[in-house]
C-alpha cells in the first residue's frame, strides 16, 4: 500500500483553482476546445468552457427516479454533482450526421461521401461511469470488422480529463456494475477534487504519455500558488473521496448470473407490468451513454435531383425500429422494454464481452414514468410479479 502511494506520489501534482485555470488555458493553447460541465436551464450540461468560473461552483444535485433538481451546496466544490442528463456520446457520436449526398446529373447520378469534421475536443470532468461508456462505444463502434469511421476520427482527436466522482446521485449504481466511482484507465489526466483544511485543490495524475506531457508543460509554466507536487496526504485524501463515494450509491443492481437470468425469463409477467407504466418515449435510450442504435434518414429536395443520407440516433422503443413489410416485429411495449433491458444487461455481453450498462442512473432519473431498471431486474430475480 505504501509503495503504491509513493509511486503515485512521483507522478501526481496538486492544482489550486488558478492552476486548474492554467490547465484549461494550456489545453486550449494546444488546440483542444475544452468541453466541461456548466449550469444551464436548471441542469448541469456540457458546453465549451474557457474559465473555471463557468464550472458549476457550489452546485449539487438531487436525483431520484423521474426527478432531477439542482441544489446549493454548502461548499465551493466545482464538481459536486453527479451525472447530468447528457452523456458525452453526442460529442463523439452526434445524434445526426451526414453520410453522403447525391445528385442527379442528366441520366447519371453522383454520390459524394461526407467529410468528417473531427474537432479536437478535451472532455473535462469525465466520470468513471462515462469513461467506461466511452470504452464500450470504442468496442461497439471502433473495434469491429466494419467501423464507424467518423467516430474513430473524432475519438482520436479527443483528450480526456477524467474525474473521481465525489458526490454520486440517488440513481447511481456504478459500484454494482464495476465501473466506478474512481477512474481506472482510459484517460489522459484524472482529477480528484479535494476540499478541506488544506484548501480547495485538485490532485491530478497522468494516464497517458500526452497527459504527462501536458502536466510537465503545466509545471514548467505555472506561477507560484497555482501548482505544487502532490504529497502523500493528497493521495490519501483522494482515496478517501473515492471510498466515500463508493459508500453513497443511491441504487444497486445484483449482476450475479444476470445474463442467464434474463435469457431464462423472456415471458416473465414483470415485462407486462413494466409495459403498463412505460410510455415508450425513448428518453432512456437517448440519455444512455452506451445506446448506439441508429437509422438513416433520407432528405431530398422537391425536384428529386438532390438527396442526402443522414445517420440519426434511433431507439428500440419505437415501433418503426423493428418494422418489416406488414408490421413491426416488436409491436407491444412489453417486447420493446424486454428488448432494451435484455440487450443492455444480457445480450450485450455475448456481443461485446461486457455489459452495456455502466450504472450512471440516467435512464432512471430521466424516465418520465419513474421506471427504475434496477427495481425491474430485482423483481424478475425475486420471481415476483
Amino acid at each position: 500500500m505504501d509503495d503504491e502511494v509513493r509511486m503515485d506520489d512521483i507522478r501526481g501534482m496538486v492544482l489550486f483553482v488558478p492552476g486548474l485555470q492554467s490547465l484549461i488555458d494550456l489545453l486550449r493553447e494546444r488546440g483542444w476546445a475544452v468541453i466541461g460541465p456548466t449550469v444551464r436551464d436548471g441542469a448541469v450540461v456540457h458546453a465549451e468552457i474557457e474559465s473555471v468560473d463557468q464550472l458549476p461552483r457550489g452546485v449539487g444535485d438531487l436525483q431520484d427516479a423521474g426527478s432531477y433538481r439542482l441544489r446549493e451546496r454548502d461548499d465551493e466544490a466545482l464538481f459536486g454533482f453527479a451525472a447530468g442528463p447528457q452523456a458525452w456520446k453526442s460529442l463523439l457520436f452526434p445524434s445526426r450526421e451526414l453520410l453522403w449526398s447525391g445528385r442527379r446529373v442528366g441520366a447519371e447520378k453522383e454520390v459524394t461521401p461526407a467529410v468528417v469534421d473531427a474537432k479536437r475536443l478535451a472532455l473535462f470532468g469525465v466520470r468513471s461511469c462515462d469513461l467506461h461508456a466511452l470504452a464500450i462505444h470504442d468496442r461497439v463502434l471502433a473495434q469491429r470488422e466494419v467501423t464507424d469511421t467518423a467516430y474513430v476520427a473524432r475519438r482520436e482527436a479527443t483528450f480526456i480529463v477524467a474525474l473521481t466522482c465525489s458526490d454520486p446521485g440517488g440513481t447511481c449504481f456504478c459500484v454494482s456494475m464495476g465501473t466506478g466511482p474512481v477512474p481506472d484507465e482510459g484517460f489522459d489526466l484524472a482529477l480528484t477534487e479535494l476540499l478541506g483544511q488544506d484548501g480547495h485543490r485538485f490532485l491530478v495524475v497522468p494516464g497517458s504519455d500526452r497527459g504527462q506531457e501536458v502536466l510537465d508543460d503545466l509545471k514548467s509554466r505555472a506561477g507560484g500558488g497555482e501548482v505544487m507536487p502532490a504529497g502523500e496526504q493528497d493521495h490519501l485524501g483522494a482515496q478517501e473521496v473515492g471510498a466515500a463515494a463508493a459508500q453513497h450509491m443511491g441504487r444497486s443492481l445484483d449482476t450475479n448470473g444476470l445474463r442467464d437470468l434474463l435469457y431464462a425469463h423472456p415471458e416473465h409477467p414483470r415485462w407486462a407490468d413494466v409495459a403498463s407504466r412505460c410510455l415508450a418515449c425513448t428518453n432512456c435510450t437517448l440519455v444512455c451513454p452506451t445506446c448506439f442504435c441508429t437509422s438513416v434518414d433520407v432528405v431530398s429536395d422537391l425536384t428529386g435531383s438532390a438527396t442526402e443520407r443522414w445517420r440519426v440516433w434511433d431507439s428500440c422503443f419505437t415501433t418503426d425500429f423493428s418494422y418489416l413489410h406488414g408490421g413491426s416485429v416488436r409491436d407491444s411495449v412489453q417486447s420493446r422494454y424486454r428488448q432494451w433491458a435484455t440487450h443492455k444487461l444480457a445480450s450485450w455481453v455475448d456481443q461485446f464481452g461486457t455489459s452495456g450498462c455502466v450504472g450512471c442512473g440516467r435512464c432512471i432519473t430521466w424516465c418520465p414514468a419513474a421506471i427504475d431498471l434496477t427495481a425491474e431486474v430485482a423483481a424478475i430475480r425475486s420471481g415476483k410479479e
Partner: protein, 285 residues
C-alpha cells in the same frame, strides 16, 4: 448548443455506408408484385457474393432496403435481385427503368454453404419470395449435381399466380432435382397440390440421416418446416434458415436487426436452426 472550436481536422473517411453505383440493364416481371432486376456496375468491377448473401439496394431520394441476391454466384453476368413491391423503396425500385442508376452496398451476411451438403441429400424448402434467396444455392448445387445425393425442392406459395421462376422449375427437374410445389389456394384450373409446404416433408425422397436442409420463407413457415424436418429425423445442426429483420446498415452497427444476441445482418441471415431453435418459438424477439 455548445459553442465549439473551429474545425481543425476535417478529413474524408472511407465509410461502409456509401453505395456503389449500378445501372439497371434488364428487368423481368415475375408475378403481379414481384420483379427481377439485373444490374451492371458503373465502375466495371463485378460484385462477388456467396449464395445466401444480401445487398442494400438504394433508390435515390427514397431509401435503402436489404434484398438477397437471387442470381448465379459462379457465372459472370449482371447482378440479380428478385424484389417484391411492398414498401416505398421497393416501389421506387419497381419503377426504375432500364438505363437508370441505383445504389448498391454489400454483399453482406452469411451464406448457405452448400458445400457442406457434399455426398449428402440436399433439401430446399421455400415459401413465397423465399425461393429467391435460395436460388443461388439451387444453381450452385445443380452446377455440381454429381457431388450431391438426392436433391429436393419443396416450394409453397399462396396461389399459383404467385409462384416464382415457374419455367425454371421445369429445367431444375430436368437437371436432376425433385420439385414439389404446393399452394394455399388454387382456382379450379389448378391441377397441382394444395396445402402447407410442411405437408410435403413426410413423403419427399431424401434420407433424413444424411441431409442438408435449407429453408427460406416466412418465420412461422420456417419454424414449422424445421420442426417437421427434425420430426423426420434430420439433425437440427444440419438445418439452416434465413432470417429476415429490419436491416439498415448491413454491417452490425445500426442495431436494428438484433435477434437477442445476434446481429442478423452479420451473424445471419443464414443461421443454423440449432442456434435459433429457442428464439424461433418466442414472440416479438
Amino acid at each position: 448548443m455548445p459553442r465549439l472550436a473551429e474545425p481543425t481536422a476535417v478529413q474524408p473517411v472511407e465509410s461502409a455506408m456509401v453505395p456503389r453505383l449500378f445501372r439497371l440493364v434488364d428487368r423481368r416481371q415475375d408475378t403481379a408484385d414481384t420483379f427481377t432486376i439485373m444490374l451492371e456496375p458503373n465502375d466495371g468491377v463485378p460484385l462477388a457474393f456467396i449464395p445466401g448473401q444480401f445487398t442494400m439496394l438504394s433508390a435515390f431520394g427514397v431509401g435503402e432496403v436489404p434484398i438477397s441476391v437471387s442470381g448465379d454466384a459462379h457465372v459472370a453476368g449482371p447482378l440479380q435481385h428478385t424484389v417484391r413491391d411492398v414498401g416505398a423503396v421497393t416501389h421506387a425500385l419497381a419503377r426504375t427503368a432500364v438505363g437508370d442508376v441505383m445504389g448498391v452496398r454489400g454483399p453482406y451476411g452469411t451464406g448457405w454453404d452448400v458445400a457442406d451438403g457434399h455426398s449428402r441429400d440436399v433439401v430446399f424448402v421455400g415459401g413465397g419470395i423465399g425461393l429467391a434467396p435460395l436460388r443461388p444455392a439451387v444453381l450452385e448445387v445443380l452446377a455440381h449435381r454429381e457431388d450431391f445425393g438426392r436433391v429436393v425442392l419443396m416450394y409453397g406459395a399462396r396461389s399459383p399466380e404467385e409462384l416464382l421462376f415457374v419455367d425454371e422449375l421445369k429445367q431444375w427437374e430436368d437437371q436432376g432435382m425433385e420439385v414439389l410445389v404446393t399452394v394455399d389456394y388454387g382456382r379450379e384450373s389448378w391441377q397441382g397440390r394444395v396445402g402447407l409446404v410442411t405437408k410435403l416433408i413426410p413423403r419427399a425422397g431424401f434420407d433424413p440421416r444424411s441431409t442438408l436442409a435449407l429453408i427460406c420463407g416466412p418465420e412461422v413457415m420456417m419454424r414449422h418446416t424445421a420442426l417437421a424436418l427434425v420430426g423426420r429425423g434430420v439433425r437440427s445442426s444440419r438445418i439452416r434458415v434465413s432470417l429476415e429483420r429490419n436491416m439498415r446498415c448491413g454491417v452490425g452497427l445500426c442495431g436494428h436487426c438484433q435477434y437477442r444476441e445476434l446481429f442478423v445482418c452479420v451473424d445471419g441471415p443464414v443461421l443454423p436452426y440449432a442456434q435459433v431453435t429457442g428464439l424461433l418459438g418466442l414472440r416479438e424477439v
